[in-house]
């Protein structure tokens, strides 16, 4: 008989909240493994299982017996261990007693901090069967969960009521009592297909027993894979392409133990409604997978993931078709109601909706957006008339019934309504695009009107909230300003718009005018926004030092910032980069310490050799680099700097900057400053070392 075996722990529950299933099962596995390790049971790998009704883990190679452990018990300090007569004090005797030995068996422990009584002994390892119970209890009671609840007439609390506990080590039952449950060697199958207990011979049989006898797929990833596969197959049968949203797959896997895809239909008349509203209804309310045809048009078919092999699947289908019908009918009703009123006529009603108490109504915001978009359009030669029209209509759909019922339709609803009224596709699309990018990594607006409106929309919020002294602190960001500011920067950078953030904030500040009680704080948003770029570039794998080097220059044109970042990144690849960076660091340090620096370089004071060579090289490099910088060709400019490396190195080898002659010293510092300026023009190269 081996001295180790696989350990199975399963906690059976009433249906757990979908979002908690995976994190809780993972935490159970991780914490249990860690505690077993600490306790000396040398656990191997974990295999996590999670369904709506169970959290489970298999841990391989868990020792039957805890390793023996050398324990050093520290007692009172030696000064406190004896009384004036040199007899053992009460504390000392107490310590010996607590160790279960006579006082003369107690030793000493001396460190540089003092001396203590100490007792060393070997603690005999205990059996897993003895230790597991308390250990499991503490792990389960300390699992992180969003909200605990109580049930019945007891004091236990967990995410949902618990039903059974399985604890097997190899083929041996491990006694444990957790949340009022005594451990057993049985699991339970599917609530309806296999409600009886399934006794396990040994821990390793767990997953297979559930699959073959229990009608349960305990592995979360396997259920997800099965759902994906079944949805695609059902879609193919229905002659369409399923929109397989991974989040939805994941959620469905949390709602079933035995996924079975079933497709259903709805009346084609509903297809008149914007497909986003229908898709949202299907996904959010019903967790259905929508189907599209090859051209991306919605089909009147959906796929649902049921939890049973129904003996009469048609009834499940019909049931689901019954549910979706009134919901789609609602969406259609809102669509048709809204179409009775031109979108623009809703503009005055925006006066009744508060955007933010100090920043006024949505109507006020609209007025500001008109002003901001006009300004931005002028900067980049866009069609100001179209942009203004989009801005004026941008918030009107918030007053439609569609958006009231389906908040995620904001922007999208507006797009459909004005397009149907005959507006150009460019203006209509801008209404949807104003809310882009929706999250990190998601696309920025395609169209120029959408880009301008999206920038203005976010800029007004950013400047407004900063200007009333409510800039985000810590983790609190109720107006999602992190997302807004990164959104602005991403649109500008990724869509290559020649805009200046300082100028934009200043325009926004003017538009907000009297609404702001701390107008000067608007410009704090500049650093705040630029700080977002650290994460942005980190996600692209760009060296943090590069971003620091550019940040030191505080370029306020995001596009310019971006060019510099890429130039400095390229520079960093040059063989001369490290040496030049180090030299620059040295130059910055020297200049920092200097009391005075000469005004300009006096050529007559230059020493022949390394200093003269450096100066000559500096002149030719300046002549080459500066026009490049002026044209924003930072990469070429930085490349040209590489030629300075040799002369700079020789200079520091041969020349003493702090010369005895003060005039020479000041002149040398002036030369270094000029050199330093050239090297920090695109980005502070000293930040690279």
């Amino acid at each position: 008989m081996s001295d180790h075996a696989t350990l199975l722990i399963e906690l059976g529950c009433e249906e757990l909240p979908a979002a908690s299933i995976q994190p809780m099962a993972a935490a159970l596995a991780e914490k249990l493994q860690a505690q077993l390790k600490d306790a000396g049971f040398a656990p191997g790998d974990t295999q996590v299982f999670a369904t709506p009704r169970r959290l489970a883990v298999l841990i391989s190679e868990v020792q039957k017996q805890q390793a023996d452990r050398a324990i050093e018990k520290r007692g009172p300090a030696v000064q406190a261990a004896f009384d004036a007569e040199g007899n053992a004090s009460k504390a000392a005797l107490g310590f010996a007693k607590s160790c279960g030995v006579e006082f003369d068996q107690v030793g000493r422990l001396k460190t540089d901090k003092g001396e203590w009584l100490a007792y060393n002994f070997t603690q005999k390892g205990e059996a897993l069967s003895k230790q597991l119970g308390p250990l499991l209890e503490s792990v389960i009671n300390n699992l992180p969960m969003p909200k605990r609840m109580r049930w019945g007439a007891n004091n236990y609390s967990f995410l949902r009521p618990v039903l059974w506990l399985t604890a097997l080590h190899g083929d041996e039952l491990m006694p444990a009592t957790v949340l009022g449950l005594n451990s057993g060697r049985s699991t339970r199958g599917h609530r309806f297909h296999a409600p009886a207990e399934i006794e396990l011979t040994q821990a390793e049989d767990y997953a297979e027993a559930l699959r073959s006898q229990g009608h349960v797929e305990p592995d979360y990833a396997k259920r997800m894979a099965s759902i994906r596969e079944q949805v695609l197959a059902a879609a193919a049968t229905a002659g369409g392409q399923a929109v397989v949203d991974e989040d939805l797959v994941e959620e469905c896997a949390a709602l079933v133990e035995w996924p079975v895809a079933i497709s259903g239909h709805f009346d084609e008349v509903f297809l008149e409604v914007p497909k986003e509203a229908l898709i949202q209804t299907m996904k959010n309310d019903q967790r259905y997978f929508p189907l599209l045809d090859e051209s991306g048009k919605l089909l009147p078919t959906f796929i649902t993931i049921s939890n049973i092999n129904s003996s009469d699947e048609a009834l499940v289908r019909q049931g689901n078709e019954r549910v979706i019908r009134p919901r789609l009918a609602d969406a259609m009703f809102f669509w048709q109601q809204d179409l009775k009123t031109p979108l623009g006529s809703l503009l005055p009603s925006l006066k009744t909706v508060v955007f933010q108490k100090k920043l006024g109504t949505l109507h006020d915001k609209t007025e500001r957006l008109v002003r901001l978009t006009r300004h931005i359009a002028q900067q980049i030669d866009a069609d100001a008339v179209l942009v203004e029209r989009a801005a004026r209509l941008s918030k009107c759909d918030l007053m439609t019934q569609m958006v009231y019922e389906f908040p995620e339709m904001q922007g999208i609803a507006g797009k459909y309504y004005i397009y149907k009224e005959g507006e150009s596709i460019a203006v209509a699309t801008a209404l949807e695009e104003q809310y882009m990018p929706k999250q990190a990594g998601s696309p920025t607006p395609e169209g120029i009107i959408g880009q301008i409106l999206a920038i203005a929309e976010k800029l007004d919020t950013l400047a407004g909230i900063f200007g009333i002294g409510q800039k985000p602190t810590g983790a609190k960001d109720p107006f999602a300003l992190r997302r807004a500011s990164l959104g602005i920067l991403r649109i500008i950078i990724e869509r290559k718009l020649d805009l200046d953030l300082h100028d934009l904030l200043s325009t926004a500040q003017q538009a907000l005018a009297d609404k702001l009680d701390k107008p000067e704080q608007v410009f704090d948003a500049l650093d705040y926004a630029l700080d977002r770029l650290q994460g942005y570039y980190a996600d692209q794998g760009i060296d943090r030092r590069v971003v620091d080097a550019v940040m030191a220059k505080k370029p306020t044109r995001p596009l310019d910032f971006d060019k510099r970042v890429h130039a400095v990144t390229a520079f960093l690849q040059l063989p001369e980069a490290e040496a030049l960076a180090a030299a620059n660091k040295r130059i910055q340090n020297i200049l920092k310490k200097a009391d005075a620096i000469g005004e300009g370089v006096d050529e007559s004071l230059l020493a022949a050799g390394a200093e003269q060579t450096l100066y000559d090289t500096l002149l030719t490099t300046e002549a080459e680099v500066q026009p490049l910088y002026r044209r924003g060709e930072y990469e070429a400019g930085l490349r040209a700097l590489a030629g300075l490396r040799g002369p700079v190195d020789s200079y520091f080898d041969d020349v003493m900057v702090n010369a005895d002659d003060n005039a020479i010293k000041l002149n040398r510092l002036a030369l270094l400053q000029r050199l330093g300026n050239l090297c920090t023009e695109a980005g502070d190269l000293s930040a690279l070392s």
Binding site: E14, E15, L16, P17, A18, P52, K147, M149, R150, W151, G152, A153, N154, N155, R160, P161, R191, F192, H193, L255, V256, Q286, Y288, T304, S306, N307, I308, S310, S311, D312, L315, V316, Q318, G319, N320, R322, V323, I324, R325, P326, V354
Partner: protein, 311 residues
Amino acid sequence: MAASTTPHDVKTFQGMIAALQTYWSEQGCIIQQPYDMEVGAGTFHSSTFLRAIGPEPWYACHTQASRRPTDGRYGENPNRLQHYYQFQVVMKPSPANMQVLYLGSLSALGFDPLVHDIRFVEDNWESPTLGAWGLGWEVWLNGMEVTQYTYFQQCGGLECKPVLGELAYGIERLAMYIQGVESIYDLVWAHTPAGPITYGDVFHQNEVEQSAYNFEHANTEELFHTFDVCESECQKLCEAALPLPAYEQVLRASHSFNLLDARRAISVTERQRFILRVRTLSRAVAIAYAESRERLGHPLLRNTTPEASDV
């Protein structure tokens, strides 16, 4: 699962209610009658809200008319009404097999769980006006929400110990499903010697008239006044240690608020304040009720075995 051989015709609205009552009385619930005042949900019945408070056990079931003035559609929407029914079951302490008992009730209505897809989907319930919250599920039957299932954790701001388990069935929905009709008004209420009587026969005119009242005629000035009066009466009655009449003032205030809401007489910011006012009253009533039961010596503890009450 307890098999219930029911003589009731679940294909009628009244037969379905009778089947549920029979089933739950077999599980030890007393059959109560609806509360005789306007309430927004079954939870407002004193059998739930007040009985959830304190240590005494309570098993009961009943139908409850729910009034949601803003949901009025003048009888024109086949799925939405301003007056409809919930079938309410409360079990305190919630039994360990409550889910199984619940599934038994669906079987009693003729739903075979190996045919229909029945699921418990997370839904956490909170009533801001009652200062109450609980965790549980909405129960899905082939994707349709048919029951709200909640383990009460707090009521009127007081911890629920033991926990009351609440089931609120949307019975019109279930009946439409069982009867296979597309409009609530087409539901067969009962077969009589004179022919079938439909839900529409019983309630359509009521929906039309009450919708008109809710949206057009309700006297807002009077309702604001009623709200204020109820508020001060409730406070006085709590001080007088009369929590039951005090609670009725809460119900009246709450319904006045719902009507004002339907008349759009309450702005968004004011809305929050009104909710808070009702919650303050609910809390006061909850505390007064807990004290009154204590003064009475928690009479219902007499039937409990010592272990069961050992909480």
